[in-house]
């Protein structure tokens, strides 16, 4: 098995730059979202399509980023 169709792009979520990557392993699509500057992972999800996987990852990223307190 190989990761196929690896793709990543940068978007802004809740005012933070986020890197979202997605690829297919077998029949499953995987996506992960990282915040760019600290570099920490925010979400890793699996879904039936790339669009669904990225949407779920970004939704989870938005939830976490919205909770971040600025001091």
């Amino acid at each position: 098995m190989r990761a196929e169709e690896f793709q990543e792009r940068r978007v802004e979520v809740a005012g933070w730059p986020v890197n979202v990557a997605s690829y297919r392993l077998g029949a499953a699509w995987h996506s992960q979202a990282d915040n760019v500057s600290p570099g920490a992972g925010l979400a890793r999800v699996t879904a039936a399509t790339r669009e669904e996987a990225e949407e779920k990852a970004l939704r989870r990223a938005a939830e976490l980023l919205a909770r971040t307190r600025r001091h």
């Binding site: 098995m1 190989r2 990761a3 196929e4 690896f6 990543e8 933070w16 990557a21 690829y23 392993l25 995987h30 992960q32 990282d34 915040n35 760019v36 500057s37 600290p38 570099g39 920490a40 992972g41 925010l42 890793r44 699996t46 990223a61 976490l64 980023l65 909770r67 971040t68 307190r69 600025r70 001091h71």
Partner: protein, 288 residues
């Protein structure tokens, strides 16, 4: 173009693909997200969990020599094994594992350049099988604490400017705007940075594909902040894993002699009573 000072501490993905089944090589995946391995990994690789297998959770410490020996033995590793470590987030916790392996004297330990991301993006073979490992009886060397900074050394660096302090966190963490990377728990009482520290985020050492920048590019990045190897350097972050990455860059790619990782990091300094912090904007943050 200058070479890395110790290119033997890096393994390319192509080299790993050719050698992952070699019995003299052990490939280990160490991820921030410990579930990533189960999704698919380098064939033949085993996994170490940073939060249970690479730290003493009771003492908030690195592994003891005995625990390190037990981990290496259970992983089928001998002192002569070529240990190749890789992981997600451009090798954050892979570098943490490598740092401990060097502390306990493992001779041939390498990072897979580009980490998990590069392996996947190159559409290389992945496996979901966990390989069977024949245990060994690994004996480590005494801990080499010249690779590790403790609080008194950091206090001395602040008081006497005896070492260059490198804060590898994001500019927002450095200034105290946020206390932890978004999505991760706040582990300190106040924000800011250790007085005198320069802000050189760890990720500036990486290309977009996760590999390390060239030696010339790296030297320019650190030189610009006065980190040129002429005096000792102490790297820190929040809990010591991102600074392991920078420690690796300074120690092995640029070849600086005296580089230590302060794994107490901001979680320790940011909670201390009676010590100052600074909160001003870093000049480097403006350059991204």
């Amino acid at each position: 173009m200058a070479e890395y000072a110790h290119p033997e501490t890096l393994a390319g993905t192509g080299w790993v693909a050719e050698h992952s089944a070699d019995p003299r090589v052990r490939v280990v995946e160490v991820d921030v997200d410990t579930k990533a391995y189960d999704e698919g990994h380098v064939p033949g690789a085993i996994a170490w969990a940073w939060n249970t297998q690479l730290c003493d959770i009771v003492r908030r410490d690195i592994l003891s020599q005995q625990k390190f020996e037990e981990l290496m033995s259970a992983s089928g590793i001998t002192p002569d094994t070529t240990l190749v470590i890789y992981g997600d987030n451009n090798n954050w916790f892979a570098a943490w594992a490598l740092w401990q392996a060097r502390i306990y004297g493992h001779r041939d330990v390498r990072l897979m350049n580009g980490g998990r991301k590069k392996w996947l993006s190159e559409s290389r073979e992945v496996s979901t099988e966990t390989p069977q490992v024949r245990p060994t009886n690994y004996r480590a060397q005494e801990a080499d604490l010249s690779l590790r900074a403790f609080l008194p050394q950091v206090e001395e660096a602040v008081d006497r400017r005896s070492a260059g302090l490198v804060d590898v966190r994001s500019p927002q963490e450095y200034t105290g705007e946020i206390l932890a990377p978004p999505g991760l728990p706040e582990t300190c009482q106040r924000g800011g940075h250790i007085p005198g520290a320069r802000n050189i985020p760890w990720g500036r050492a990486c290309n977009d594909d996760g590999t390390f920048k060239s030696a010339d590019e790296l030297r320019r990045i650190y030189d610009a902040e006065g980190i040129d190897g002429t005096r000792p350097v102490i790297a820190y972050c929040r809990i010591g894993e991102r600074s392991s990455h920078t420690w690796f860059v300074l120690k092995y790619l640029l070849g600086f002699d005296k580089v230590t990782n302060y794994d107490g990091s901001w979680t320790e300094w940011g909670n201390l009573v009676g010590v100052p912090v600074e909160r001003e904007q870093a000049a480097s943050s403006a350059r991204g």
